[in-house]
């Protein structure tokens, strides 16, 4: 079982850190909270890994690729475009 490595880690518990991960990653955290949060990450490999996993999850979602427009939808839209062009 990993032992917490320093007193700074105790500003936030790991259980709190995991709920703040997106706020941190998004840069939406205030400067004081950011300092405390980063102190925790510096001392806690588990939370540092968790924040990386949140980033990686967002990154993987970004690799899903655009879904294709269904052929029938595409046809109807192009037809609507031609009609609009004629009007």
């Amino acid at each position: 079982m990993p032992e917490p490595r320093g007193t700074h880690e105790h500003n936030y518990t790991c259980e709190e850190v995991v709920e703040l991960a997106t706020e941190y990653v998004e840069g939406a955290m205030g400067p004081e909270e950011t300092t405390l949060f980063e102190f925790h990450l510096n001392f806690c490999d588990g939370c540092e890994t968790f924040v990386d996993q949140i980033r990686a999850s967002a990154g993987a979602a970004g690799r899903l690729g655009a879904e294709d427009v269904p052929a029938d939808v595409r046809e109807r839209l192009l037809e609507a475009f031609r009609e609009w062009r004629r009007s």
């Binding site: 990993p2 709190e16 991960a21 998004e26 588990g46 996993q53 990686a56 979602a61 970004g62």
Partner: protein, 210 residues
């Protein structure tokens, strides 16, 4: 794809106004996933969302002469989708209630059992650390198999969370665009995004640790 549309926006709008069908086909391809995601935030079924998006494109074409470029073309188009979807949601019995965008209490991002209890000398700290994905074999995280897990996890999310993560992480919209299109505050948008990412993370962990 979105960034290309964004970069050449003035040209794009001019080409559309000129009746350039190729330009129209391109922009439909580029914006379709984001438009569907916005519509799905309001209406229950995929079919209804496709209807909304088609109607929105008619609105885009009709409004093209009034588009002044104060917002990006995408933001403007997504707002049109949202307005139509909202109207439709009021009409349809099976629509998503507006409260779907109010983040409820929701569960924790990580199962509470993963943390030490109140009687432990270090309450609220990990019992055992999550696995470091940076040590995975190259390509494992972005393999087709792993991405299928991500896609399934997003598909299983509640409507509002799915709409937000699709717009932010899959199609690359900014938080401002998402807040405008879905009528969310910045804070609520972030809560929904966090819940969604946390669930995708948990599914990935389950898959990668197996």
């Amino acid at each position: 794809m979105e960034s290309r549309v964004h970069a050449d926006e003035t040209t794009l709008v001019a080409r559309l106004r000129d009746g350039d069908e190729e330009a129209f086909a391109e922009v439909v391809e580029a914006l379709y996933p984001a438009m569907i995601a916005v519509a799905r935030g309001y209406v229950r079924t995929r079919a209804l969302a496709e209807d909304v998006v088609q109607e929105a494109w008619l609105g885009v074409l009709r409004g093209l002469d009034r588009f002044e470029g104060r917002s990006s073309f995408r933001t403007w188009a997504l707002t049109i989708v949202a307005n139509i979807a909202r109207t439709r949601a009021v009409r349809e019995a099976r629509s998503v209630p507006f409260s779907a965008f109010e983040p409820d209490a929701g569960g924790p991002s990580v199962e509470p059992e993963r943390f030490r209890g109140p009687d432990d000398p270090y309450p609220g700290h990990w019992r055992s650390y999550p696995t470091d994905w940076r040590t995975l074999p190259e390509g494992k995280l972005l393999s087709d198999e792993t991405l299928a897990v991500v896609r399934a996890a997003i598909g299983d999310l509640p409507d509002a969370q799915r709409a937000v993560i699709t717009l932010r992480d899959v199609t690359g919209c900014s938080s401002e665009e998402v807040c405008a299109a879905l009528g969310l505050t910045e804070g609520n948008q972030r809560v929904l995004l966090h819940r969604a990412r946390a669930k995708v993370r948990a599914r990935l962990e389950e898959h990668l640790d197996a």
